[in-house]
């Protein structure tokens, strides 16, 4: 059959897989530069689709020029130190700090989910409230958060916590309830107490899936973080993108967006590696 390679039983080879998986990237990049060049031929001042040279220059300035115009760096300073004094680095640190605090605040969410799933009274006490909370669109709370907590860091971190916590709590509850009853009964017959069952049996078993759940929610975390930074912040990657939007600075916005994607990809990869290292027994299809 001539189109057999499109059917269910087709088995792409190693080279075919590699080529196919990169094809859309190559096509997207090629299409961008084709349209960009065409626009620049018509209007050399076009700012909507910067050329590769413009983007490289924009990224170079963002990554290797001092963050503030008034800061002067000596000429012989190393590339590494120039990067550490750059706008890109300072924005990355500011966003990462908020991201890190938000991730730390998800730990109580996991603990709450564990207790809700395992201890019936904790479950009935919290579940209706969390289910209701889960339905609130977190971004609609933004004005309330800024009024209640001011425009400082707390409001942005709270936005992420409110936006992602109910999902993590409910996800953890479901994971706890999916642990076979035989496991908890067995633990009790071996002499475990309630908290042994919670922390030595159930939490340990669900932890790799909880980490996977958090990994899958990374984009939601970043979405809320970016919303907060874009509206009320003086630094951070999203603040810079929002600021440059006013000046049509697409030559920096596009590399910034790619930089954020790269950072998220690295965080995701890091979490996957940590998960594999911490839970060598865990195998998931």
């Amino acid at each position: 059959m001539p189109l057999a390679f499109l059917l269910v039983h087709a088995k792409p080879g190693r080279t075919g897989t590699l080529l196919l998986s990169w094809m859309l990237f190559a096509a997207g990049i090629a299409a961008y530069f084709y349209v960009s060049n065409a626009r620049h031929r018509d209007n050399p001042e076009d700012r909507v689709m910067p050329t590769i040279a413009q983007m490289a220059r924009g990224m170079f300035d963002a990554a290797l020029r001092p963050a503030e115009d008034e800061e002067q760096q000596p000429g012989n300073i190393s590339l590494g130190r120039r990067f550490l004094g750059s706008m890109l680095w300072k924005d990355t640190v500011a966003t990462s700090r908020r991201f890190f605090f938000s991730m730390v605040l998800l730990v109580p969410a996991v603990i709450l989910g564990l207790h809700m799933g395992l201890f019936p009274y904790v479950g009935v006490f919290f579940s209706r409230f969390i289910l209701f909370f889960d339905k609130i669109v977190a971004l609609s709370l933004l004005p309330i958060l800024f009024i209640a907590f001011g425009i400082d860091e707390l409001a942005k971190v709270m936005l992420i916590v409110i936006g992602v916590t109910p999902t993590i709590v409910l996800d953890t509850v479901n994971l706890v309830r999916a642990v076979p009853a035989e496991q908890t009964v067995k633990a009790f017959t071996l002499g475990a107490g309630d908290f042994d069952v919670a922390y030595r049996v159930v939490l340990k078993q669900i932890m790799p899936r909880v980490l996977n759940g958090i990994r899958l929610n990374l984009k939601a975390v970043m979405l809320f973080l970016f919303a907060g930074e874009m509206i009320a912040s003086t630094d951070g990657l999203a603040y810079r993108i929002a600021l440059l939007r006013r000046h049509m600075g697409m030559d920096v916005i596009i590399p910034y967006v790619l930089w954020v994607a790269l950072l998220l990809f690295l965080v995701d990869l890091g979490m996957r590696m940590v998960n594999r290292w911490l839970h060598p027994w865990f195998r998931e299809a």
């Binding site: 076979p180 009853a181 035989e182 496991q183 009964v185 067995k186 633990a187 009790f188 017959t189 071996l190 002499g191 475990a192 107490g193 908290f195 042994d196 922390y199 030595r200 049996v201 340990k204 078993q205 839970h279 060598p280 027994w281 865990f282 195998r283």
Partner: protein, 261 residues
């Protein structure tokens, strides 16, 4: 005095409650090896859960060692058919889990004494590994790296490490192939003789019940809609007795299906 005493127990599920077990009267003495037989869905596992304490009777009472137990605890070991091992722990950690949680709280694990005792638990666990016919090299494996038979061997060792007076086994060998099953039957019989534990063994395999137990209990329903009752309670005859094995099997199967014998 009986070690396990069930008096007129009734278990019901659903709303309104639909009885699954009705009028269960049973006394099991210390050291007995009781096999519970019956068709699928006749309440064998429910009976076991009553003794385990994870199920409470709607009526009647269940006494283990003269006391009502509202929850599973260390006095009754448990080997289910599936999910008997903790997947996140190695074979060695699974076997030592009981003594460790029994002696050390979550914070107690941070003390130096815990590490001293753990060495002793591990020595004992290696001894159990040897008794169940496994190699020392298996100690570091995770449950999903073991075959079904090996997993059940470890589950038995895990349950026996806490030296329970009562061992409850729920279709523990039903997922195993016949050769592995025979090996496991020999093992459990040998362990029963050595430890003197009281064993309540749920199975739907008549031959297995006859070859393992000292006493057989058959649960059966009179009709599809009715609750199960004890249809037959008998001591396993000595080999070479009056009743030959095929005839005995037929008799037990008739009891399980409420047919007239």
């Amino acid at each position: 005095m009986a070690l396990i005493e069930i008096r007129d127990a009734c278990v019901a599920y659903g709303s309104p409650p639909r009885p699954v077990l009705e009028g269960i009267d049973l006394c099991i003495a210390e050291g007995e090896f009781v096999c519970v037989l019956g068709q699928t869905g006749c309440g064998k596992s429910t009976l076991l859960r009553l003794v385990l304490g994870s199920e409470q009777p709607l009526r009647g009472r269940v006494l283990v060692d003269g006391r009502v137990h509202l929850h599973p605890d260390r006095s009754r070991g448990y080997v289910p058919q599936k999910y008997s091992l903790f997947p996140d722990k190695t074979v060695l950690d699974n076997i030592t889990f009981g003594p460790e949680v029994g002696e050390f709280s979550l914070l107690g694990r941070l003390t130096p004494r815990f590490y001293r005792r753990r060495r002793e638990f591990r020595r004992e666990a290696f001894e159990y590994l040897r008794r169940i016919g496994m190699q020392e090299s298996d100690a570091g494996k995770y449950p999903d790296q073991l075959s079904g038979g090996m997993q059940q061997r470890v589950a038995i060792a895990q349950a026996l490490m806490t030296q329970p007076r009562i061992l409850l086994m729920d279709e523990a060998f039903s997922a195993l192939d016949s050769a592995t099953r025979r090996g496991m039957q020999d093992l459990i019989r040998q362990l029963w003789r050595n430890t003197g534990a009281t064993i309540l063994f749920v199975t739907h395999n008549t031959q297995e019940a006859l070859s393992l137990g000292t006493r057989l209990i058959v649960l059966a329903k009179e009709s599809a809609a009715s609750a199960s009752r004890i249809a037959l309670d008998m001591a396993v005859p000595e080999p070479g007795g009056e009743e030959d094995v095929p005839r005995l099997v037929r008799r037990l199967e008739c009891a399980a299906t409420s047919e007239k014998w």
